[in-house]
C-alpha cells in the first residue's frame, strides 16, 4: 500500500554560480532532514559534481538524494534530468560538457562554482561556463536523458526566463516530458488555470532553492511504496495505487 513521501526534487548546491555559498551538501541535507523531507534532488546548472557527496550524506539521514542536472537547452529552456544512480548522471554530465558553450566562468559576474566534500571543505572550482547554454535542443536533451533511463522534467514552467513556455511559446505536443515542475512563484490555483492544457502531463512542485531557507518552500507529496528512484518513475506514470499530490 503506497504511503506519502515528501519530495523537493530541485535544489541547487554551491556548485551553481547563482546559488548561495552556504548551499553545501552538508547543510542542504541537514535542512532537508529538519523539514522531514524523504527525497531531494540536487540539480546544479549543467553539472552534477556535488551530487555524489550529497547522496552519501543524505543516506546517513535516511533521505534519498537523487542525482540530477539542470540542463540549459539551446533555446535557453531549463530541463532537469534525474537519474537512478551516479553512473547514469555522470554519463549525462559528459554529454552536457561536450555540448556546453565554450568559455570560462567569471566569478565576479556569475559567482563561484564550488565543489566540496562532506565536511564542507573546498575540493576545487569548476571552471566551465555553467551559466551558459548547451547546443542541444529541448527534444535532444529529453531523448538523451531517456537514453540513460532518467526522468525528464521541464523546470519552473511558470517562469518566463528559462521556462519552456517562456522560450518556446508553448510545450510542443509529442515532447516526451515525464513531468512539469511548478515553482513557488505561483499558487496551484493559478497554475491550474494557466496550464490546464497541460494537465495530461503529471505535475510536481519543487523549490528550486538557491539558499537554505528556500529548501522545501514548496514540495510534492508522492504516494508510493518506497522513496526510491524506480518508485518515483512509477509514480509519475501513476502506476497502481501510486499518486502525486501537489
Amino acid at each position: 500500500m503506497p504511503v506519502e513521501f515528501r519530495a523537493d526534487l530541485h535544489i541547487q548546491t554551491c556548485l551553481s554560480p547563482c546559488a548561495d555559498l552556504l548551499m553545501t551538501p552538508l547543510r542542504i541535507v541537514e535542512k532537508a532532514a529538519s523539514l522531514g523531507l524523504n527525497m531531494i534532488a540536487v540539480c546544479d546548472h549543467n553539472s552534477m559534481e556535488n551530487a555524489e557527496v550529497t547522496r552519501k550524506l543524505a543516506r546517513e539521514k535516511g533521505i534519498n538524494a537523487v542525482p540530477g542536472i539542470e540542463i540549459t537547452s539551446s533555446e535557453e529552456a531549463h530541463i532537469i534530468g534525474l537519474f537512478r544512480g551516479i553512473d547514469q548522471a555522470l554519463k549525462m554530465q559528459g554529454v552536457v560538457y561536450e555540448n556546453l558553450q565554450p568559455g570560462e566562468n567569471d566569478e565576479n559576474a556569475f559567482g563561484m562554482q564550488v565543489i566540496v566534500n562532506e565536511h564542507e571543505e573546498v575540493l576545487g572550482f569548476n571552471k566551465r561556463l555553467l551559466i551558459g547554454s548547451t547546443n542541444l535542443s529541448v527534444n535532444q536533451i529529453i531523448n538523451i536523458i531517456h537514453s540513460f533511463e532518467g526522468i525528464a522534467i521541464a523546470a519552473h514552467i511558470d517562469r518566463e526566463g528559462f521556462g519552456i513556455i517562456g522560450h518556446l511559446g508553448f510545450i510542443p505536443s509529442g515532447l516526451k516530458l515525464d513531468t512539469l515542475e511548478i515553482s513557488s512563484n505561483v499558487s496551484m490555483e493559478e497554475a491550474r488555470e494557466r496550464f490546464k492544457e497541460y494537465s495530461h502531463i503529471p505535475w510536481i512542485r519543487s523549490s528550486d532553492a538557491h539558499k537554505l531557507d528556500d529548501i522545501g518552500k514548496v514540495s510534492t507529496g508522492l504516494f508510493m511504496e518506497h522513496a526510491t528512484f524506480d518508485e518515483l518513475a512509477l509514480t509519475l506514470k501513476k502506476a497502481g495505487e501510486r499518486k502525486i499530490i501537489v
Binding site: 547563482c18 540549459t72 539551446s74 533555446e75 535557453e76 558553450q101 568559455g103 567569471d106 565576479n108 559576474a109 556569475f110 559567482g111 561556463l129 551559466i131 551558459g132 547554454s133 518566463e160 526566463g161 528559462f162
Partner: protein, 113 residues
Amino acid sequence: MKLYEIVNSLSLEVKTPSLDLNKEVTGGYVSDLLSDVIGNSKKGNVWITLQTHQNIIAVATLRDMSGIILVNGRNPDVDTLLKAAEQGIPLMVSSLPAFELVGRLYSLGIRCQ
C-alpha cells in the same frame, strides 16, 4: 555617443538612478538569448532585450556593456535591480517595442559594432 544622450533622446526611464550615465556607448546589440549575447556582443555595447531575469546583469558585466534597455515597458525583477546597482550596470526601460527602439537607436547613429 554617451549613454545619457540616448536616455534623453529616447525618453528612457532610468531604473538605476544611483549609476553614472556618462558612459560611452560603442554600439548596440539586440537579443533575448543570453548565450548569444555572451558570444556576440561587444564591450561598450548597449543591450536591448525583453529579458528581465537577474542573469542579464551578470551577462552585461561579463561583456563590459554600457547598459541595458528593456523594451515594451517591461519591469525588471527586484533581484535584477539590486544586481544592476551592485555591478554598476545602468538599466533603462523604454515603452517601445524592440523593433521601434532599435530603429531609433540606429537613427541616432548607433550601430552593431
